[in-house]
Subunit: 242 residues, 2 copies
């Protein structure tokens, strides 16, 4: 009955229902109007995400999502020759994989609203502190991700959105507008603090509003309780449910 | 693909994806294992909830929920002759309405795990402070809900669970075990603080674990990223997805 909005991405999506998370906040924004479905897969890059497409978004679905956020790149941008190289995806392939994801979503539903989100910026010092807190002296001296390389992936994401006429959120740039973004928005140099989650929530809501998916303009799925006549409740439900 | 757990209730369910909310926390607990679907309707009592049953839980659904929390009573217990009397439902009817809800869910799926949750306790002083903050001098002197009357509804809820062999959470009693529950768990004498939400989350997880719906025993819907061979990713997906 309610439309579905799917959040497709990596750990930053998977963790988005933790306290202060952007996914939960979105579920609250669209309360009684749309269901927010979390399809975040921690550690995944776009290459691995392709294996999920037909399972998560079957082409013969009678009720495909009305909107989807596609939020990958943080893992694709892991550097070759460093500790996370297993997750690395070359930048040209990253862009093509994103294109395949979007095409598949559009094949499921030509009217689906797709929002591409760039990876957040990387705070290399924060990543290093985190690695040392986990691995101690065994932590790699060299960063496994850099902000400059992640920038290149973010640029490809935005370029693809322009090429395909899609909405997008340039999270990489947006977060860096704020002084002290490194600690304000990132908990370990890569994942989001509650404040960082709030930026994603705010930007996604802004983009949805600018498109046609504005929560304030959507109606509740059933009568608001104040519209129900205590002595004749059936009336309110006849009007709205038949 | 993922099983669905539906949260059916009033505002305490509807608001459960706000920051610190028990619904969002449940979604995080069952991350990549089950989808948490919010079907909370602020202000609703069990009488009005009955109008929604066939819409929310159609009998011919091919994929009914595997579990549901049924969390009503806070509005049913509103007092006659006071400002919220429109929401009042006589106590015998409350119990019978709950029974109808459970029977309908079981008709949708005989194996569904139904958990009845009693209304939380009422802090009359907190309700009064809240009313004065909203209505000033116009606020009613007399409480529109009392903790003692809500207790009677909670007892009927627990009794029904026993009669029908269902799991239940006696939130009314559980919360009052803690000294200072009035301000610790309730934000306005009726709705939940983040700490109050944590109690609901903890109790629902406990009951699900004691039944057969334990998140740690459920497998991820797709391979954990550490199981994916960077050089031969297809292998992990062939094993799990075919």
């Amino acid at each position: 009955m309610r439309p579905q909005i799917v959040l497709f991405g990596d750990s930053i999506t998977q963790q988005s229902f933790r306290s202060g998370g952007w996914g939960a906040a979105l579920a609250d924004t669209y309360s009684r109007k749309a269901d927010i479905v979390n399809r975040g897969y921690g550690g995944y890059n776009t290459r691995w995400a392709l294996f999920l497409l037909h399972h998560l978004f079957p082409l013969d679905s009678t009720k495909p999502p009305v909107a989807a956020t596609v939020f990958f790149g943080a893992n694709d941008a892991a550097l070759l020759g460093r500790s996370s190289e297993r997750q690395h995806v070359p930048i040209e392939e990253y862009k093509e994989n994103l294109r395949k994801i979007v095409r598949h979503l559009k094949e499921c539903s030509p009217t689906v609203l797709v929002v591409l989100i760039t990876p957040p910026p990387v705070d290399e010092a924060g990543r290093k502190e985190y690695a040392q807190s986990v691995y101690g002296e065994k932590a790699d001296e060299l960063p496994e991700r850099t902000n400059e390389v992640t920038r290149l992936y973010a640029e490809q994401c935005i370029e693809l959105a322009k090429e395909m006429g899609l909405c997008s959120v340039d999270l990489w740039s947006k977060m860096q507008e704020r002084e002290g973004w490194q600690k304000k928005f990132l908990s370990d140099g890569l994942h989001l603090t509650p404040e960082g989650n709030a930026v994603v929530h705010q930007e996604v809501v802004r983009v949805f509003n600018e498109a046609w998916l504005s929560a304030p303009e959507m109606s509740y799925d059933f009568p608001h309780h104040s519209q129900i006549d205590g002595k004749d409740p059936e009336k309110a439900f006849q009007q709205r449910c038949l």
